[in-house]
Symmetry: D2
Subunit: 402 residues, 4 copies
């Protein structure tokens, strides 16, 4: 009776690209939406096929496959990688498993998309970047999921910086503010333990803003000076938590072993100064990834809570009529926008994953090098390591390793 959503001769006429996804929680849902939608909106050279999804709990992963539209479900990621109908492995697990899965997938000849942060340590990230470099020469691609490069407004910002509209950059000012840890009664989840999460707001939010800042500026950070803090050091164990969490000073609570907030300043090689703040304690700020660039000839400002807007000040205009203008980034000649809706009809968060899927499919078809690469992910990891080192060493300015 047919394939209701994949009719013969249609998108079906294009060569398939089989996707296998590991992990199906928040990120898995977002990536699924990206893979399902990219070929419906954009004219892609390959047809993404949601071949199989993988998770440890068999019943749960089958339910997730049904919900999100994956043809098969696996409970062993090695089995997923081994499937013939999987050409690309999409890793949506926590950071402590990224390296092992990505290395195995590359070794098995698959393309890889890996969620950020690339790894929980520089050493792991280095190994992954080396493996990706070797794989690229064999025609296998590896990309890291810094999806905020693919908001149309940030992509437009990058284009404008690259066009020279801002001139020499002086200041880069970035925050990523959330507030879900403000309540001291919020439980001690795996994200608050170093052994599982690697770090706290630094790796979660800080990784995003370091990548985005370097992407927009077009060069890496040279060095940083940092403060980190854990405001609430003991939290109730989550319901059903095993006693395996060490260091619980009293029955029913456990120690937070990651940072709650990270502040750092830094320098770009070309001389721009930067400030960064990542926190989960900014009451009332839900997803305030804000970035402002000030250059000799202009400035740009973006706020993820209003993601369809880019604010631009053209410093070359006469001051009489100059001002920050709100560009509604929904015009056909804005990045990604020719495929979507008429001007003024905004996009949302999940569209970044559609764009990510679009760009990766194009790169696979063309054999080009995807961005952000694992090398870019490694570079972010090095910045995070320098932040941690500076914070441990009394905030002393710490160069980022090259």
């Amino acid at each position: 009776m047919g394939q209701p959503q994949q009719p013969e001769g249609a998108e079906g006429g294009k060569p398939p690209l089989g996707i296998g996804m590991v992990g199906y929680a928040f990120m898995g849902a977002a990536h699924s939406q990206g893979w399902r939608t990219a070929g419906r909106v954009f004219d892609l050279p390959l047809r993404p096929v949601l071949a199989a999804v993988c998770g440890r709990d068999g019943a749960a992963v089958r339910a997730a496959a049904d919900r999100h539209g994956w043809a098969a479900a696996e409970t062993d990621w090695r089995a997923l990688i081994a499937r013939d109908d999987v050409d690309l492995v999409d890793i949506c697990t926590p950071g402590d498993s990224h390296a092992e899965i990505a290395l195995a997938a590359l070794a098995a000849g698959k393309h890889v998309l890996c969620e950020k942060p690339l790894a929980n340590s520089v050493a792991e990230a280095q190994e992954m970047a080396r493996a990706a470099e070797a794989a690229q020469e064999r025609g296998q691609l590896a990309m890291v999921g810094f999806n905020y490069r693919r908001v149309p407004a940030t992509a437009l910002a990058r284009r404008m910086v690259a066009e020279g509209r801002l001139g020499t950059l002086r200041h880069v000012r970035v925050t990523y503010l959330q507030d879900w840890l403000v309540d001291p009664g919020f439980p001690l989840t795996w994200r608050l333990r170093k052994e599982s999460a690697g770090s706290g707001s630094l790796g979660d939010l800080g990784a995003h803003i370091v990548d985005l800042a370097q992407f927009l500026v077009g060069e890496p950070l040279a060095g940083v000076s940092a403060l980190t803090e854990t405001f609430v050091r003991e939290r109730p164990l989550p319901a059903g938590a095993t006693s395996g969490l060490s260091g619980a000073p009293t029955a029913g609570t456990g120690q937070v072993t990651v940072d709650d907030a990270a502040l750092f300043t830094g320098r770009f090689a070309s001389g721009a100064l930067a400030s960064f703040e990542a926190t989960r304690y900014a009451t009332g700020r839900k997803n305030a990834l804000r970035i402002e660039l000030n250059g000799e000839h202009g400035s740009l400002a973006f706020d993820l809570e209003r993601l369809n807007e880019l604010h631009y000040h053209d410093g070359t205009e006469p001051g009489t009529h100059a001002g920050f203008r709100r560009i509604l980034v929904t015009e056909p000649d804005h990045p990604y926008l020719d495929a979507w809706w008429p001007p003024g009809h905004g996009l949302g968060y999940e569209h970044t994953f559609v764009h990510q899927a679009r760009d990766l499919v194009h790169a696979v078809a063309e054999g080009s090098r995807p961005e952000p690469s694992f090398a870019d992910g490694l570079q972010v990891q090095r910045v995070l390591a320098a932040v941690e080192e500076s914070a441990e060493k009394n905030s002393v300015y710490t160069p980022v390793a090259v």
Copy 2:
């Protein structure tokens, strides 16, 4: 070989609801996204199946079917309605064909979703509403596609009004501002001719804001006083236009026979005053559907260009700390939001169609009456007719027929 996007035992285990869509342009693309996505994000009682899409140009409709994920393509809407695998007919054509298709679909025992405005005349809309009423008694549902009721922020606004948070309403202030006709060189498309489009900004934009205002207030407009205007009365014929357009005063141009802008004031039965403005000449405003409600106890303000926000002033608070607050409508207890992303991760325009599909599928499964009904669509039509009558009669206050 399997159904890559509809695995056995998955969503596939639910009873199917076969969708047949007529028209596949802008609205068709948006509706397709709604039907494809609703069951992936929400836990629906039925499984929407994109059975067939219909259009006059065989090659084009087959390409659209492939692109948007429809299993089959038809070139005759009567054939589409006749298909056994079509349970619900989704009408995305221009307004002059709504009545005929909707009446035939209802007569054929199908559920109907019809794009707005419901029809190009009150007479047609009346017939449609009568047919829908009869069909409802047979268990067939009919809904009109005023999708802006299903922005989470507007749905929250309605909930807050219904909870009495604003008290007696005093003012309703609504605009829908676009700017795509500012350039006098923009061609004379079908939207600018009365015989095809019925009216101009009034039926296109005005219908949306009349419905939204009545929905939020919870009662119909009692009467209106109106001005309409056509600023640019002659425009170049579109490339490839046939000579069929009458009234072209010079070679290569033709007359605009619909309104460019419509302004009207009005009264709600309970005493609130309202003002409306619909225009395609508001330079720089791309999709500025803005509505503000002022009540005895509070106020609400919404702007479609920032659709994840609702601004609320609680007038019962001490003035010292009172002010319009920006509610980021992305919390789990906001309408539709429990199924989407974490707080602060915004939605876009197309999500209104996902929500519309969700709500209609629930209504079909439960046999309940969907909103907005064809009766609601008729009521909007009556307001538009009163607007036109008032504009013709020197703006005299004109009651809306009941």
Copy 3:
């Protein structure tokens, strides 16, 4: 020798212009600030001297003189006009006394500044305009106090319209929203009685926005269609109210005999459409005089609650980088700004009165015709009369008398 604030040889060296002010409440305080400050900030050709202030209650007017810096106090406005040291009479009383005082002052050879609205009726305003015209020929000036023309941002807006930056205007959208009558327990002050106030929100707020719109557009309104409403028709008598208020239906309350809100649409002769709303029931809006102009080549938007900003969309720019820009109207080449603070250091409400004083002093010294003239005030009065007539005649479109 003891003129602490007027040292010899200083501003004192300039010829004096003696000011006599009638009324010393809210407007009197604002005008006093204007007269005291204008010569301190701007380089004026004449030295404003605060000669005398007038009010009916001797003790109160003496206290006001002391507070606001007036050299003498009078209790009879005819005596004030008769003073030799008074060259210019500044009328800050309620509207029902404007005509009598202004006519007497002009007859006595004085310049006149009269608060808005010019009068409580067209007939009075006509007589005043005729008298002003005759006086102008004798070298006496008469100006009406529409101070919102002298916010730097509105003055800049006018300059930009006059420069042709907006091209042919299509839409003028104006509201003046306040909320101080929302509480039905607010007492029945003189402002809510027709015999004293002339009208309600229409004369108070509506007069401002009609003048501002006509000023910005640069031409008069041709006609209007209007709705007015009194939401709360009975209010408690103010503490200490005499029994003189007629029509009190129950002990302790009285009837509101003016409009609470006025909505009207209209047309400018050149074809632009306009909408106006004036209300004291917009909960949470404190002083929201907002105006937006949409023209063929650009748009401007202003909000009195953020009076240092003008928002400008340049429609001639490529859409890629276009958007409404926030001009911070604090640059040295913005109107009035060369005399104030560095860029970004904003002004406030009262500065409009300083600018009004500045411009009037210049006009007196130069013998030029001040703007807005009494003729401008009369024109506003005619619009208000047309609004009232339309509201009484079922909103029918009513031409503004010329």
Copy 4:
């Protein structure tokens, strides 16, 4: 008897407070406006008399006296201090002369108001604070002019923090962004030379935000980690510059010897983290002093470019209706507002000087200790010194001396 602006029996009935001001440029103009206006708006216990102003250029100071309303002009600040009619010395000169003048004024038994920063070095500031402490015991007051404490919105913010509305503070985020040095052709004024200005953006803008942050938090910074930068190290000499500027590498240019920008992070003793940025290179930002406080129970945000607004998030409300609210700080129960205009009628930059004058006059009359005191000014100086030390020592975290 002819004091046009100071009538007998009026404000004149109050005991006078003779003011003598040193310096009459930008700050002198602002202070003059404050002294002239305070007693006209507020009901003060003493009557400020603008007795004499002092500057080195006799003709210029006499013109300034005339313009700004000072009764006499002096060319020697020691003469000014010696005048019997001067009770309070107001120091508006550059920082390098503050200490000498303030110490002499205190020694002469005068009250002192000294512009910020208190001095160009900690040593000077220490001496001044010691002298002020001794003077306070003799009934002489000393205040430093951190005027931004007296914006109604910041004063309201302090009140809300003190009331505990924010709970334990987690984050303090402050920037002061200007852009007047973006053009490398801007000349090498005295503000860009260390010998005259002490420091660059740090002492000018940084001093303001350090004071404001400490004022709002209610405790001093414990330590800082800093980066500073001079982006443009050589600039053209100003027209008419003497050759006295050393280090000019080429004819016609000279070296910038102060910082262009300063970034620093820090900790408050109670555990809150803070970040600061002061720069003159933020293209398009004219006076963007922005501060945000995030506490366990709420957040506050302020922007000097919109100085009539305070944004408040009440974290104790249910998330459903919570959001940052825009408080228009123009209500009668807001700080300083009972004496000004009706709600929604905003104030401007210069009002901070009126409020400063008001508060100081009250303190003098009551013999209380004014805030900010010289001790507060010294504390700010110590923070600036710690910033410079950290910047010199590779950003190492540097405790602020106590």
